[in-house]
């Protein structure tokens, strides 16, 4: 529990760093003064209108994706599952880009709805393949997920080639995981749903732990495995589609965060990992965005692609380490 508390403290520190870093540097003392003395400065406007929503959007997405990754890795008994590798993010992206293409107004509402719809369809597809137990073995389900991702990705490219130039820029930047526009205003919804899901997850932590022991053992110990699985996959679907509608396709957070949290905690007991993994996810995504903003003030580097640059080596490191430590 100490480690989880430490992660929380780190998160709060990073939130303050994120509030102060950017094109206009706001020092920590300015931060304080504008908090206690609102309406007095330009900093206050930058903070409340730009930095704060952006930071909280990053935090909420990181939390949601870290949480989703842990759940999927348990429910599918596969260390490579996450919304991105299973094609859930891909489905959501396709839905959202379709909404952009048809341009149904208001876009702030239709884009998330398109994302939810696309994500639900991708989830149903994955669930359909999961019925066949043979596909659980040897990462077949991940291959299918990646195929769904690629399929949706090509579809998205096709759609983008049909878009107006102004729409193209919007769509491309959004897909690369750019945070920092009016879509950020969705963060409270994502945050509230995350808190609700976390509560549900912690209520079922024993059931989730038992699923780690294998389906047979879990059923024998009294867990209704199929209904727990369905419930949490639907929760993951909801969280993913909202995260995608705020920041586009963000890979690796959901994959890396559970592995890092397992490494930090040394256990996969869910009453700990369901708290730690979201916090790690939020830290990762926050630091990616802070890096993106410190590299250059003039050009916006999309934090989603920076996340992949950070995430891929971290993941390979953990996988190789894990293989070395495995008892053969």
């Amino acid at each position: 529990m100490k480690k989880i508390f430490l992660l929380l403290l780190l998160n709060i520190t990073f939130i303050f760093i994120s509030l102060s870093v950017g094109a206009a540097h706001i020092s920590i003392s300015d931060l304080w003064s504008s908090l206690f003395n609102p309406h007095s400065s330009d900093s206050f406007f930058i903070l409340t209108e730009l930095r704060f929503p952006r930071t909280m959007a990053l935090v909420s997405i990181g939390l949601a994706l870290g949480f989703s990754g842990t759940l999927l890795q348990t429910l599918l008994d596969n260390p490579l599952s996450e919304p991105y590798t299973l094609g859930l993010s891909g489905g959501a992206t396709l839905g959202a880009v379709l909404a952009l293409m048809f341009g149904i107004k208001p876009i702030w509402l239709t884009l998330p709805m398109g994302a939810v719809l696309g994500c639900v369809l991708a989830t149903l597809l994955v669930l359909y393949f999961l019925k066949n137990k043979i596909l659980w073995k040897a990462n077949s389900i991940i291959l299918i997920g990646v195929m769904i991702s690629l399929f949706c990705g090509s579809f998205v490219t096709l759609i983008i080639s049909l878009l107006e130039p102004t729409q193209v820029q919007l769509a491309v930047y959004w897909m690369m995981g750019q945070v920092g526009s009016e879509k950020d205003l969705w963060w409270p919804a994502l945050f509230v749903i995350f808190v609700f899901s976390l509560f549900l997850g912690l209520r079922h932590h024993v059931d989730l732990d038992r699923i780690l022991l294998g389906e047979d053992t879990a059923i024998n110990l009294g867990t209704n495995v199929s209904s727990v699985r369905l419930l949490f996959i639907l929760i993951v679907c909801l969280l993913t589609s909202l995260a995608v509608s705020i920041a586009g396709l963000v890979g690796f957070v959901g994959l890396v965060a559970p592995h890092v949290s397992y490494h930090i905690l040394g256990t996969r007991r869910h009453y700990k990992t369901l708290l730690a993994s979201p916090l790690v996810g939020s830290l990762l995504f926050l630091s990616a965005d802070i890096l993106a903003r410190t590299f250059s003030y003039d050009i916006e580097i999309p934090s989603g692609s920076l996340m992949a640059l950070l995430g891929a080596p971290i993941l390979i490191y953990y996988l190789v380490r894990g293989l070395k430590n495995a008892h053969v």
Partner: protein, 233 residues
């Protein structure tokens, strides 16, 4: 007491057809049969794990089931396992934890994946035997166990049985089975229970050699019998 009637288990093919049986309180029953005769399927069906089944099944509480192998990469330790089996609330735990029949206390801290097959088996057996249920289904419990712990396991099971706990044990290790006193054996073959009775009687039965493909001879010994096996002529 565990009772099942007209139990049929089928996947693509029927594995077991309309079998019935009763596992009385305090009894130890061995489940013997050739590979693929449905021992594991029967145990899983009685443990509530298999859904594809017909027939009636009665038991006061869900029997606890322990699989022959544990392959999950769980990331959990032995202590976590005891928690998940709700072991610390059971009377078996109070009674036997300090005695620690399978010598697991020093390895409970370690992740299950870091244990050797035998150590892992001891931890899993302890968790299952500390579970509160009065009915225990074990699938090849001696697999991977060294001689010393196989013997401790036998003593522990025998002691618990005398306290009223019942055991259904799928087993290929006949030497181990013959160390027990007062046990029964059910022989599964061709979709049904073809022989049942006290273990000594079953292994004296002339039909057994056609089923198992070996001839068994019982040799009197100070604690009961030893079994000697040979291929049928």
């Amino acid at each position: 007491m565990l009772t099942f009637k007209g139990l049929t288990i089928s996947y693509q093919d029927t594995i077991l057809e309309k079998i019935s049986g009763t596992l009385e309180n305090g009894k130890i029953v061995f489940l013997v049969g050739p590979n693929g005769s449905g021992k594991t399927s029967l145990l899983k069906a009685l443990g509530g794990i298999l859904q594809k089944k017909e027939g009636t099944l009665k038991c006061q509480e869900t029997p606890i089931y322990l699989a022959a192998q544990f392959t999950a990469q769980s990331g959990l330790s032995g202590h976590d396992l005891l928690d998940l089996y709700e072991a610390k609330k059971s009377t078996w735990y109070e009674k036997y934890f300090l005695q620690d029949p399978l010598c697991v206390q020093t390895i409970l801290k370690r992740p299950l994946e870091s244990l050797s097959s035998g150590e892992k088996k001891r931890v899993l057996l302890s968790a299952a035997l500390f579970h509160k249920s009065y009915c225990v289904l074990l699938d090849e419990p001696t697999a991977h166990l060294d001689l010393h712990h196989a013997l401790s396991l036998k003593n522990w099971i025998q002691e618990q049985a005398s306290c009223g706990r019942s055991f259904l044990i799928s087993n290929h290790d006949l030497h181990w089975a013959f160390l027990f006193q007062n046990t029964q054996t059910w022989v599964l073959f061709e979709k049904s229970i073809v022989l049942r009775g006290s273990t000594q009687d079953v292994f004296r039965d002339i039909k057994l050699k056609d089923i198992l493909g070996v001839k068994a001879e019982l040799v009197p010994h100070r604690d009961g019998h030893l079994i000697s096996l040979s291929y049928r002529e």
